[in-house]
Structure formats: C-alpha cells, structure tokens
Amino acid sequence: MKYAYYPGCASDSTAREQHASCSAVARALGIDLTEIEGWTCCGTTPAHQTDRVLSASLPAANLARAQKMGLDVVVTCAACYSMLKMANYEVLRHPKIREHVGEALGHDYDGSVRVRHFVEVLLEDVEIDRIKKALKRSLNGLKVACYYGCLLVRPPEVNRFDNPENPVSLDRLVTAIGGESLDWPHKVECCGGALSLTRSDVVVKLSDAVLTMARAAGAECVAVACPMCQINLDLRQSDIKKETGRDHNLPIIYITQLLGLCLGISADKLGLEKLMVSPERIVQRLT
C-alpha cells in the first residue's frame, strides 16, 4: 500500500498532531505514505472566494506532481481534500478551465489522479478486519460523537465520500476500536471554521451549537478528521465559556489519535499534548 502523501499547510502549524498521528498510524499498519516533494498550498477558502482558475490551479499543481509518482494522493485535511477533488472535477468538466490551468502550470493536467482521505484508505484498503487484528488496546466503551463537518462530505457529487447527511465512516472506525459511536444530529453541521479569524462572534455561536448537542448526546469526546474543525471546536471553548457561561470541556481529538492510542502508540508520538482541552481523561479510560 503506497500513496503520494499531501500533508497540507496545517501539518506544519495548527495540525502537527494530525500529521504526526496519521504518520504513526500509517507506519503501524504498513501503509507507505511518500510525501509529494515540493508540495504547495491548495489555496483553500481564500482561493475559491477569489478566482475559479486560481482555486483549480493551486491544487492541480500538486496533483500533477503525484501523477508523475504514479500513485493515488492521500490527504488528511478535509479542506485540502475538498479542494483537490474540486480541481479534478473542474478540469474534467470544463475544457476552458483545463486550458487555463494548463497555462498556469505550464503543462496540461487531465484531472485523473485519484484523491483519497486517509480515513477512506483505512476503511477501503486496510479494512476493518486488519485494523482489528493490529489493536493492542480498546476505547473501552468511550462515548464518542463523530463530527464530519462540511468539507469531507459536501458537495457529494464532487467528494463522493460517504452519505452527505448521515455519514458513518468515522463511526465505523470508532466502533472497531471499542468505542461507542453516538447517534447525534450535528454530524454534518458547520462549525464556522472559514470565519475563524474574521467573525469569531459567528464561530462561537455555531461551535457552541455543535458542542451543546454533542454533550446532550452524552459524548465524552468529539472525534474529527479535519484541522479546521479541530482547532475551531477546541480553541473556541474558552470563548464560548466567556460568552455563554457554558463550559463544555470536551476534548476534540483526531480519529487518527484515537486509533493510534488503540494501536499502542505512545501519547507523545500522537501529539496528544497539543490539544487545548486535555484528553487525559480519555487516555485513562482505555484498557
């Protein structure tokens, strides 16, 4: 199992722990993630809010590199995932955009490189049975609210990730490692990540709604697969407390960190200390 790995900009800043835990889990399960050399930013929201050709060309530059490696691309960040997938979609459907992207890159890109989220690789290529065989510990019935947010599942025509209204990919992983995945209504509600620096008032409202629902469902933690969701839901808990008095105190933990713990990988290799709301309680619950 060999893939071209696109870490994304957050891997070197706000989501080091996602990068670290993903790499550690891959190693433990025999997945070879070869980093795309010289990879560049996908442009994310500012690019698609600014220019259609720009927002297709920035991801396409990386897809073209992966094409030379002859491998599928694996992504961990949901925002990068959606940008890379959208670039393929645009290039395949609009000859004019393909032409402009070709001009921007200095060579043609045909839109054919397959883009996968690491969670898809775990479920489709490694498969649950093999993950189960590699487990050293169990989540021991830990109640987990799996949160997918926006960019993994939407728009479904482009991403084709899972059911856009009731996805279960993360839930299947949580169940496989001994957790109790909760049925709750805010799996795909937006946390407001795109406004995180500009309209924190809106972000606080949206994140509060998600966390309030997670707690009402009995969650002991929220599992995520997107750096925007993670930092937003984690970092904004202090603001929510200030503004509403509600102290959610819910660890927001990457699915790869939960999986890593159960594969017997040590907490420091998974970057657990980087989470703002301490996941200490969760680690204690493991058996």
């Binding site: 070197d12 800043s13 930013c41 442009g43 921007a104 926006c150 728009p155 407001g192």
Partner: protein, 189 residues
C-alpha cells in the same frame, strides 16, 4: 417575507453576470427556502440565501453586494446539497464576492476580503500558508490587535502555530500560477 425594491428598477441588474460567473441557471429556483432551513447563518444574516436569489430575479444591482451573507456565508455547501433544483448557491455567493471586490464595496465586519488578500499573499510568497504572518497582517489591517491575543502564548508553547515561515515548497510554481491568473484577468478587462 416581503422584499421591498425600488419602483424605478428597470435595468436587468446582476442576474446574468452572476449566472455566467457561477455557471448556474437561477430561473429554476422556486423559492421553497430549503436552502435557508439548512444554512447555519441564515438566522444571523439580514438576507438568507433564498432572498439573495429572489433579489437577483428582481433585478438587484450592485447594492446586493453589500448584503451581509456575501461575507458571512461559511461556504459549508449545505444549501447546495439540499436544494431540490440542484442550484450551486455557494458558487453564486463566490461570484458576488468577486464582484464586491471588483466594485470596491465597503469592507464587511471582520474584513474577509482583506483576510483573503493577506492569506493569498503569504501563499504567493512562501508557496504555503504562513499563519502567523497572515494573522499579524490582518490584525494591522483591521486594527484588532487584542482580539484573541490571550490565545497566542498557549498556542506558541504547544507549537500549535509556527513561528517561522514554511520551507520546502516549490515557490516558483506558485508564483507562476498567480502571475498567469493575473495576466488572464487583465486580458479580460
């Protein structure tokens, strides 16, 4: 909901321009408002997505670009998933954003256009995002020095945010892309 418009409206307004930019046919919207029901910010905005579309039908002009949804929309794509007519509303909003910047519409609260500019500037310079540089530039531009300031010491300690600009990216390629997009835009004009 009652939408008030000026009686003397005769020009076709932005409708065709937006349809072309976003590659959508807005005539199929039958105002069921399913988009509004799922929109996470619809109860915070002055005009939810369905109203933006209706106003476009009713020949809205540049005044529409000042609607708060234009920059409050979080691009969550929920409206698009749920619209029974499959209208790509997020692309409509992106088109309005492009026009708002072009028309120099006054900066909205939080100045998202500035954020986009500084974000893309760091990408053009370093090939990847440089969070700290971008945050500082946005703070200077919006004079919001103290906002979230208490969070930085903790984030720096946990190395949740990088102090130095990123290295290792193919900066030449990114520069090439930005130059090419700028050239194409100029040609259009």
């Amino acid at each position: 909901m009652t939408i008030r418009i000026k009686k003397d409206k005769t020009s076709p307004g932005l409708l065709r321009t937006v349809e072309k930019l976003a590659d959508v046919d807005l005539s199929v919207c039958f105002q069921c408002k399913k988009c509004d029901s799922g929109c996470p910010v619809s109860n915070l905005t002055g005009a939810p997505p369905s109203e933006i579309l209706r106003r476009l039908h009713l020949c809205a002009g540049n005044e529409l670009l000042a609607s708060d949804l234009v920059w409050m929309c979080v691009s969550c794509e929920t409206c698009f998933v749920r619209c029974p007519m499959g209208i790509d509303i997020p692309s409509v909003i992106d088109a309005l954003r492009g026009l708002a910047v072009e028309q120099k519409t006054p900066a909205p609260e939080g100045n998202m256009p500035l954020f986009n500019r500084v974000f893309l500037k760091t990408v053009e310079m370093f090939g990847r995002t440089y969070d700290l540089g971008m945050i500082v530039a946005h703070k200077i531009g919006t004079k919001t020095y103290m906002k979230d300031a208490e969070k930085f010491p903790g984030m720096l300690r946990k190395r949740k945010i990088a102090l130095l600009p990123p290295r290792g990216a193919d900066r030449k390629m990114v520069k090439r892309i930005f130059d090419s997009v700028r050239r194409a835009k100029e040609k259009q004009k």
